[in-house]
């Protein structure tokens, strides 16, 4: 019984966020888009990541691609919204909807980059091999309710312009 209780507790922790781990999230949206590529670059998704020490665990779901997903990757950009080199491969369902998963060990610099919002997820597909869905991993923030005012400027990720 006692062992069973411990196992249940362990499972509970395994399913939920690790204690003290930092959380990140992102909407995955079609990009990069032009009117010429829009027919092949479609869909959306949402990614959630957890940074526990130097271990980053990522889960994402996606749907609505115009062709089957082929690869998914984590990229290490020089800043929020700025593309950079590929850092890690992830596992992706080879379909127009599915999941992305991955667990990677980061260097200290990479972990700092994640904390600064520089890492992003990219899903590629058959018709969009150079990028279909993309999203920058940022700290959790309330998703804006349509038309509902909030106090202040709302969620405003800071680049490196110092706040006054």
């Amino acid at each position: 019984m006692r062992l069973g209780g411990v196992c249940a507790l362990a499972l509970l922790f395994a399913a939920g966020p690790a204690l003290g781990a930092e959380q990140f999230e992102s909407r995955l949206s079609p990009s990069p888009l032009t009117d010429g590529t829009r027919v092949n670059i479609a869909g959306e998704g949402r990614a959630r990541a957890e940074l526990d020490g130097n271990k980053l665990t990522l889960n994402a779901d996606f749907h609505g691609l115009a062709s089957n997903a082929t690869t998914a990757e984590l990229y290490d950009g020089p800043g929020i919204g700025i593309p950079g080199p590929k850092a890690f491969d992830l596992t992706v369902t080879p379909a127009t909807s599915g999941q992305v998963t991955g667990s990677v060990t980061l260097t200290s610099r990479q972990a700092a980059a994640v904390r600064h919002g520089h890492f992003y997820v990219q899903i590629n597909s058959q018709k969009a091999p150079d990028g279909n869905l993309t999203g920058w991993l940022l700290p959790p923030h309330p998703e804006a309710s349509q038309d509902v005012p909030v106090a202040g400027p709302g969620f405003l990720p800071q680049f490196d312009v110092p706040a006054k």
Binding site: S26, R27, S29, P30, S31, P32, L33, T34, D35, G36, T37, R38, V39, N40, E44, P78, G79, I80, G81, I82, P83, G117, T134, G135, W136, L138, H141, E143, A144, Q146, D147, V148, P149, V150, A151, G152, P153, G154, F155, L156, P157, Q158, F159, D160, V161, P162, K164
Partner: protein, 711 residues
């Protein structure tokens, strides 16, 4: 068995090789397709892109080195998909698929691609520079497409009709507009672009308030000209609404009933699917109309008849006016736009005598060699210093006798394309403080020295006093709200209104921004990220300042771009923007392109904000009733509480809410007027790409006027 296994891939490889060889032998289209495409290009495309496919204004070149630089490494199916989805401008997918196919084959042929035996379907993935080298065949160059293809027409159709005074009528009386009226307008009037010289877009009327706005209803509506861009500001004086339409048509309407009194179709019909007249001006007994063909007309306010006309610049060279006008001391001040070709001429602000139309002065917005600021262009020859358009009318401080104008970025868009290195490219993307009597520059302040992304800082300059401090507020596409001292031009403060990654530092004392290192180092061909992208941040949908709450209400757009600097041949007559763009969602916005934010202009802190999927496409109006109004891309027109941002009332219009919302009163009754319409440049084009799920009809231009019920 083994042999068979080996043979199959070999046969496949040989087949693929032969397909590739056939594709390289000629373009992936037949001669019939490109021949028919030529006439279709002339009918649907040549007005914007030029008979020789040379490009003009915002329409990129579709031939030559510029086209190959932008498209050589891309495939024919992407070109087809782009043209089909987005052309004619603002009317994507409005032609049949075969028409699009033929037009694309003509573009390929005009770039040297030779016809082949296969019919182009649009799905062929042929790398464009494998079949085309940008050299137009002599037979096509000698007889331009417009001449050979029959009558050219605008990208969108304009109802045919004669020009001139098409509806004759006369106002029973007209009280001439004086300097005193412009400085202190009657509460009931809306005499200029942003209502007051200070650019507030605020009405002191309060009959409609936050408690009763939910009961407002349509008082009248009026269909407007279709077939072009429209971002109108209705101008109202003593119960008469002067309304500018597509094709430089001006109408006088009874502002209480919508009854037409006179109409003058000045013309010409729109030659571009973009570039709207944002405002006309009133002074004395005349209505002043800066037209899209770069002329200034004075109409008799009572009859609409032309009193005089003056040429601002030669429209045959692509120049235009979209920014409207401001009347100061008997002079009409106007800007100029589409100064993006290499020429010996440069963009300017100019003033005209209100009585005669005679040019009073011109201020050139580009600093040339040997002039103050002329060392900010990396030693480029004068003819290759372009841009700094003034496509938003200025504001004015009567006490300081100073008029304030913003300028657009240098052209081409990127440092690498224009070879301006780290130079500030003065007076691009600056605030200019001018003496309205003689055009003398009093001071300037550069908001974005050496801009690199089509991020204009051209928009409205809003004049606000904070105690003894005489301030100027403005916000550009980067989304930084700037506060300057309007006496000295010194930086006072700034606030970041949405995510931006263009500047990595703003000096807290001087306000001088520092561009990200990779932007500074960018070379031709590099894809460089910019958040926000070319729709802003903030764009032409203007702010409103509410003096009661000291709040500036700012419409914002949230999307990003990857921009590639394309080469631009240094040759007179050549020109354009030379930047390829790929759009993406702004990080952290969850797909909300629209944001409305209220900033206290003393503290520069945001009091409230809200986001929504659709970006805003009207200027904001605030009123003394504590209620504001704004409209959006998704056809919604809403009233909100100024102090809180809470939506109080909303309705849907036939197509995008567009232009500039105004309020006026006739016989003691307050009205709210808003346009629905099309066009509008990046603020319309970018969401069209990013939000295909939002549908707005390609017609439906009209003015809608709302009021409280009579009882």
């Amino acid at each position: 068995m083994t042999m068979k296994k080996l043979l199959v891939p070999s046969v496949l490889a040989a087949t693929l090789a032969s397909v590739s060889a056939i594709a390289l032998d000629g373009g992936p289209f037949t001669a019939d397709q490109s021949r028919q495409g030529r006439a279709l290009y002339a009918a649907n495309c040549a007005q914007c892109h030029g008979a020789q496919l040379q490009g003009a204004g915002e329409a990129p070149a579709l031939s030559g080195a510029t086209f190959i630089a932008a498209w050589g490494n891309r495939s024919s199916d992407e070109l087809y998909n782009l043209v089909k989805a987005s052309m004619p401008y603002g009317n994507g997918n409005s032609l049949d698929a075969d028409t699009y196919r033929r037009i694309v084959t003509y573009v390929l042929a005009a770039n040297g691609a030779k016809p082949g035996s296969a019919t182009f379907t649009g799905a062929e993935k042929v790398k464009i520079n494998s079949v085309a080298d940008g050299k137009m065949p002599a037979e096509l160059a000698q007889t331009p497409a417009a001449a050979g293809g029959g009558a050219a027409r605008p990208a969108t159709s304009y109802p045919p009709g004669r020009f001139g005074v098409t509806v004759a009528g006369s106002l029973k009386s007209y009280d001439p507009v004086t300097d005193q009226m412009l400085a202190h307008p009657k509460d009931a009037d809306w005499l200029m672009y942003r209502r007051t010289y200070q650019g507030w877009s605020h009405s002191p009327l309060s009959q409609i308030n936050s408690a009763n706005v939910k009961t407002i209803q349509l008082a009248w509506s009026w269909a407007m000209n279709e077939g072009g861009a429209s971002e109108v500001t209705p101008i109202v004086h003593d119960g008469i609404m002067f309304l500018s339409n597509v094709a430089n048509t001006v109408q006088a309407l009874d502002a209480r009933t919508g009854e037409l009194i006179w109409e003058n179709r000045i013309g010409p019909a729109p030659t571009r699917a973009y570039g709207a007249t944002r405002s006309i001006a009133l002074y004395g007994d005349k209505v002043f109309v800066p037209t899209t063909d770069a002329k200034l007309y004075a109409l008799d306010a009572k009859t609409g008849k032309i009193v005089w006309q003056s040429v601002i610049e030669d429209a045959r060279e692509g120049y235009s006016n979209t920014g409207g006008a401001i009347a100061i001391h008997g002079k009409i001040l106007v800007g100029l736009t589409y100064c993006n070709r290499y020429e010996v001429k440069h963009c300017f602000i100019s003033a005209y005598d209100a009585d005669t139309g005679k040019v009073a002065w011109r201020f050139k917005t580009i600093a040339l060699k040997g002039e103050p600021g002329g060392d900010s262009w990396n030693n480029l020859p004068d003819e290759f210093r372009q841009g700094a358009e003034t496509w938003i009318a200025g504001t004015y401080d009567p006490e300081l006798n100073t008029t304030y104008w913003g300028t657009a970025q240098a052209k081409p868009w990127t440092r690498a394309s224009r070879d301006s290195a780290g130079g500030a490219t003065l007076y691009a993307n600056s605030t200019l403080a001018l003496d309205p009597d003689n055009g003398t520059l009093k001071w300037y302040w550069s908001h974005a020295p050496g801009e690199n992304f089509d991020l204009d800082e051209v928009f409205e300059r809003v004049l606000v006093d904070h105690g003894p401090s005489k301030d100027l507020l403005t916000i550009g596409k980067v989304g930084i709200l700037w506060k300057l001292n309007r006496v000295t031009g010194k930086y006072e403060d700034s606030a970041q209104t949405l995510f931006q990654n263009v500047f990595d530092k703003i000096d807290p004392k001087t306000g001088v921004p520092t561009y990200r290192k990779d932007i500074q180092d960018a070379k031709l061909g590099d894809w460089i990220s910019s958040c926000p992208g070319p729709a802003g941040g903030h764009d032409w949908p203007a702010t409103s300042y509410d003096p009661k709450t000291d709040l500036m209400i700012i419409p914002l757009h949230q999307s990003c771009v990857l921009m590639r600097a394309d080469p631009m041949e240094k040759k007179i007559g050549v020109g354009g923007d030379a930047g390829s763009q790929r759009l993406f969602e702004m990080p952290g916005t969850d797909g909300n392109l629209g944001k409305l934010a209220a900033y206290n202009t003393t503290t520069m802190k945001a009091l409230w904000s809200f986001q929504q999927k659709a970006p805003f496409l009207t200027g904001v109006l605030t009123t003394d009733g504590g209620v504001g109004f704004v409209g959006d891309f998704d056809r919604r027109f809403r009233a909100f509480e100024t102090a809180t941002g809470k939506t109080l009332w909303q309705t849907r219009l036939p197509t995008s809410a567009q232009g500039h919302v105004v309020s006026y009163a006739v016989d003691g009754k307050q009205y709210i007027a808003v346009e629905s319409g099309l066009g509008g440049g990046s603020p319309v084009g970018k969401p069209t790409t990013l939000m295909p799920q939002v549908h707005h009809p390609n017609n439906g231009a009209a003015i809608f006027v709302f009021a409280l019920p009579d009882n």
